[in-house]
């Protein structure tokens, strides 16, 4: 029974080990792509296992170290989906001779084990270890393009600054431990309010926010993001801009909503400022970027800001909105990196905005997909990006955060500029002087990845009900949030009667 509660993690670990072993036994010159398919199978199995976990009754395992509930399963499914797509993207963009491919696939699988543990752990110790698993695997993957000058630098920056932030995170845990004598989320939720040293909690929480803020690239702890995204291989960016982030947000939710909800008067203002700064700095920074990956890095900062807005709502809707947003952001961001890593390749042939001019001429499919994802990133209705943003800000406004909503939506308006610049570039005529770029034919994995992400993006925008219900079920696992989900509209009986 215990094992079933961590079944997806086990599946992924096993798959990772299999990939690793197979890699070791294969001939040096042999193509490692079959390993990728093996990893894809593992991810699929993990996805199935995660979905299967919905049938489990909510409960804990291993002495209350992990808990399986609607919340953790929601994020498990999300992470399994992300890693699945990331693997497919990797398969598409690498060649048979790409170095260290076997390790890359294994690392992706192992990294997602960490991410998954982050979302289901209810013990800060496990959270810390899981966070390290996910972080360290990403540090490594960021440096995987060893021939490039940028990739190791990216890894180094990520590694050094990440460890720096981890130290803060760890200090925060220490202080919380110091305030309560425990590192169990459940214990904190039950007893932390009675701590006779609440100021240790304030400071500890702030340190945790710093650490996690770094992981989710929330301003002002965002500085690493553009550099790291620029240097890392695109398929890896697809993973690391979504998976660890979603997991880190889940952790933040666990801590602020699950463990320390009674401190909301302290953390809501902190997150408020983080949200405002992230949105503003992210969007303004992206305005001038000509490098598409850097631009998307800034964009991811901004999106972290939008997601933080949901946190500040301090309501069940806020949790649901944050969860929903994580899904929609993952879909569109993985999608756009699928396009970028296919068009630009594993070794980043296309970097600048102008390189993407006329992409839709070379490949209508890629151009169209890119436009779709960008439109979703802008937040145009009938895409996941819109509904996520809408739900986030609806939750914020419902909690009376008028100014935050205004700042956020004005920011999304500014953001439209740089996204649209890419859209228009993709659809503009290629410059006569530009060298003809050769876009490889879309491979099967790419098509699957694009279909997955595009379909998710559209489904989330057009028929969001199922995912929304799942997110709301996840939110309901937090009994701590006093504010109930808003009641149906007054006179909703009339709605149904009027037809």
């Amino acid at each position: 029974m215990n094992a079933l509660r961590i079944l997806p993690e086990i599946v992924l670990t096993v798959a990772g080990i299999l990939v690793m072993l197979a890699d070791a036994t294969m001939a040096k010159a042999a193509s490692r792509k079959p390993l990728g398919w093996l990893a894809v199978l593992g991810a699929l199995a993990a996805l199935g296992a995660s979905l299967w976990q919905y049938s489990l009754p909510p409960g804990t395992a291993y002495f209350d170290v992990v808990r399986t509930d609607a919340f953790s399963v929601f994020f498990h499914v999300l992470i399994a989906g992300i890693v699945l797509a990331a693997l497919l993207i990797t398969l598409d963009s690498v060649s048979d001779t790409t170095e260290g491919l076997g390790e890359l696939f294994a690392l992706m699988l192992f990294g997602s084990v960490g991410m998954m543990f982050m979302t289901c752990a209810t013990e800060l110790l496990l959270i810390f270890i899981a966070l390290e698993i996910s972080s360290i695997s990403t540090y490594i993957m960021a440096g995987f393009r060893r021939k490039s000058a940028k990739s190791p630098e990216s890894a180094l920056k990520y590694f050094l600054l990440g460890s720096f932030a981890t130290a803060f995170f760890l200090y925060g845990i220490a202080l919380i431990f110091g305030a309560t004598g425990s590192t169990s989320i459940d214990f904190l939720a039950a007893h932390a309010a009675a701590s006779h040293t609440p100021w240790l909690l304030y400071v500890g929480l702030a340190m945790i926010v710093i650490g996690l803020g770094f992981k989710v690239s929330a301003a002002p702890f965002h500085v690493w993001t553009p550099d790291v995204y620029e240097g890392a291989p695109s398929p890896v960016v697809a993973l690391m801009s979504t998976g660890p982030k979603a997991a880190a947000f889940a952790v933040l939710l666990r801590i602020v909503y699950g463990a320390l909800p009674f401190l909301h008067a302290h953390w809501v203002p902190i997150l408020w400022w983080l949200a405002v700064l992230s949105m503003t700095i992210g969007n303004l920074g992206a305005l001038r970027q000509r490098n598409v990956k850097r631009m998307l890095a800034y964009s991811s900062i901004a999106h972290a800001g939008y997601l933080l807005v949901a946190f500040t709502a301090f309501s069940a809707d806020g949790i649901a909105a944050a969860s929903f947003y994580a899904v929609s952001y993952a879909a569109m961001n993985v999608g756009i990196f699928a396009v970028i890593s296919h068009a630009g390749g594993y070794d980043d042939r296309l970097t600048l905005l102008d390189d993407y001019r006329g992409l839709a001429y070379r490949s209508p499919l890629l151009g169209g997909a890119m436009a779709l994802f960008l439109v979703s990133l802008i937040g145009i209705p009938f895409t996941g990006g819109f509904f996520g943003k809408f739900y986030v800000f609806a939750a914020a406004l419902h909690s009376g955060l008028v100014w935050l909503t205004i700042i956020g939506l004005v920011n999304s308006g500014i953001a439209a500029f740089y996204y649209l610049r890419v859209v228009t570039a993709v659809y503009a005529r290629p410059a006569e002087t530009a060298p003809v770029m050769s876009i490889p034919r879309p491979s099967l994995p790419l098509l699957i990845a694009l279909f997955l992400t595009a379909a998710t993006t559209l489904v989330l925008g057009i028929v969001p009900q199922n995912v929304l219900s799942a997110a709301q079920a996840a939110a309901r696992t937090y009994s701590s949030v006093s504010q109930p989900l808003p009641t149906p509209a007054p006179g909703s009986a009339m709605n149904t009667a009027s037809r």
């Binding site: 540090y139 630098e153 590694f159 050094l160």
Partner: protein, 100 residues
Amino acid sequence: MIPIAWYLVLSAILFSIGVAAFLIKRNIISVFMSIELMLNAVNLAFVAFAHEWRQVNGQIFVFFVMVVAAAEAAVGLAIIIAIFRARNTLNVDQVDLMKL
């Protein structure tokens, strides 16, 4: 009889020196070492709090931090080797290819 708070202050001093060292050191390996210093500072706090609460969990946490630090060290040093191969420098100021 030492107040626990003194241990905590000591941990804070070490942590801050670690931060300062991270900022000042130019050699990447030294920078990495300052991170280790910061982790050690945190460990001290953990142990102090464990003593305060008479909770063994705090010590176990430290144990895990050591493990993690070891793993990090392995990976970190590998990254440093990789960057040295790519750039032939260990000066952190010269690893700023990507900017703006």
